[in-house]
């Protein structure tokens, strides 16, 4: 009698777990699982679409805006690249900095898409993180079929609020963090010409890049 009662309890408990399971996973998805899914999906999209690999900018911008930007805290990314000057910038200036910085970066990485082939794969590396970490580093490798694999790491933050997921705020290619690489260049511009000077330089650079194609 007692064992039957126990079995019933275990069965109930398992049933409750099953019911809770999917929703618990949805609210607390691990950061590396999210990156794995995102990169796998985006990579498949690039492989399937020749215009993306040919560097057609309008299509690439659409892909970035739809698929990638929802997972990026681009405000934080721009703010930490700009450094202490960010707080002195008006909301309007902050918005323009983000817009121009984004164009600069998208154009940069657009060229790299031509290197994607059918052999290109993503491999995740083990992540060390405690369950209650608000900020984590996710490490991965892009394998191209020949040559050394390309190290690709992400810094992510947990969005405040339950079930809002993770957002990327820095990116590392082959050991070089994106934000850190721009920090002293941005500071140089701000020190010499102020916030508007930096915005002007970014606008000019984006225009020049557009001409070169």
């Amino acid at each position: 009698m007692k064992t039957r009662y126990m079995n019933l309890l275990t069965g109930l408990f398992a049933g409750v777990l099953l019911l809770l399971g999917p929703s618990a996973a949805a609210t607390d998805e691990a950061a590396d699982a999210m990156i794995n899914q995102l990169t796998t999906e985006v990579l498949a999209q690039i492989k399937a679409d020749k215009s993306l690999r040919n560097g057609e900018l309008a299509r690439i911008v659409a892909l970035v805006d739809e698929r990638i930007m929802p997972h990026v805290n681009f405000r934080r990314m721009t703010a930490s690249a700009v450094g202490p000057g960010w707080r002195r910038a008006s909301p309007e200036q902050q918005k323009r900095l983000q817009d121009e910085f984004k164009i600069l970066l998208v154009r940069t990485y657009a060229g790299a898409l031509s290197q994607v082939s059918d052999q290109t794969t993503v491999a995740m590396k083990p992540m060390r993180a405690a369950a209650d970490d608000r900020e984590v580093v996710v490490r991965s490798e892009i394998k191209t079929g020949h040559g050394d694999p390309v190290q690709l790491d992400y810094r992510l933050e947990k969005t405040p609020g339950e079930g809002r997921g993770w957002r990327i705020y820095n990116l590392n290619v082959m050991g070089v963090w994106l934000v850190e690489t721009y920090r002293s260049q941005f500071a140089q511009e701000i020190n010499a010409k102020g916030i508007d000077g930096l915005i002007g330089t970014l606008v000019e650079r984006n225009k020049a890049n557009e001409k070169k194609g």
């Binding site: 940069t108 020949h146 050394d148 070089v176 963090w177 260049q185």
Partner: protein, 242 residues
């Protein structure tokens, strides 16, 4: 090695000159106290590159079939693996050393003296290490950033390691001088050709190429010393004005 002696003398001169021209002021980067001198050497290198090296590398890229270039790259990569093996041993990295040793054996025997990279096809991983990384592994700090004439970005530690790296460079042991210099020349052109695409991107993304290359180089070397997993720096703090 007379080249090493020559460069050593040059460095001493450069350092003593630089002491008089140390970067100061709020913008000075603590990792780059010799910025004014480095910038001067950087623009010298850039001029030489634009006048000679880049055009030659472009012709080389356009005139040779990619299969030939792949072979050339593999050949020099195989020689590099020999030196990586030694440095992996010096860092007590057993698995990486074994892997490097396997790569060299396989590629030299089955890859026709390294022209084919059979080892990568067999998924034998590559662990590139030089003596600068070995010094870093044993705790030697990188020291100030240095731009070397013709050789480009470096730091004090890696510069000090260079003469040792040359000792481990099989090309420099070739007896016949014309062959030796041809090989050195070919390697330089091949490596430059590999960077042509990166150079175009750099022109587009960098607001100041000097700072961009410096900040990327310093991070990249640190990353290599820690085999792709460096301990975190308190980088939020670094943003604060000094």
């Amino acid at each position: 090695m007379s080249l090493a002696a020559y460069l050593g003398r040059w460095l001493t001169l450069a350092l003593s000159l630089a002491l008089g021209a140390c970067a100061t002021g709020p913008m000075a980067n603590p990792a780059d106290p010799l910025e004014p001198l480095n910038r001067a050497i950087y623009s010298f290198n850039d001029t030489v590159d634009r006048a000679v090296l880049k055009p030659v590398a472009t012709v080389y890229r356009d005139a040779t079939p990619s299969l030939v270039r792949r072979g050339v790259g593999n050949f020099f990569g195989n020689l590099e693996d020999v030196w990586s093996f030694v440095n992996n041993v010096l860092q007590f990295k057993g698995e990486a050393a074994a892997s490097s040793f396997m790569r060299v054996s396989v590629n030299t025997v089955f890859g026709f003296a390294g022209l084919l990279d059979v080892a990568s096809e067999m998924r034998i991983e590559r662990f590139t290490e030089d003596f600068g990384q070995t010094l870093g592994h044993w705790g030697v700090s990188p020291g100030p950033y240095l731009v070397l004439p013709l050789l480009g970005p470096s730091n004090l530690r890696d510069t000090a390691a260079l003469p040792v790296d040359w000792r481990g460079d099989a090309v420099l042991y070739v007896k016949e001088e014309p062959v030796r210099y041809s090989l050195i020349g070919l390697r330089v052109v091949d490596q430059r050709a590999e960077l042509l695409r990166a150079g175009t991107i750099l022109d587009q993304v960098a607001l100041d190429k000097y700072s961009f290359i410096r900040d990327a180089y310093l991070q990249r070397r640190r990353n290599l010393v820690y085999d792709g997993n460096p301990p975190e720096e308190d980088w939020q703090e670094e943003a604060a004005p000094r």
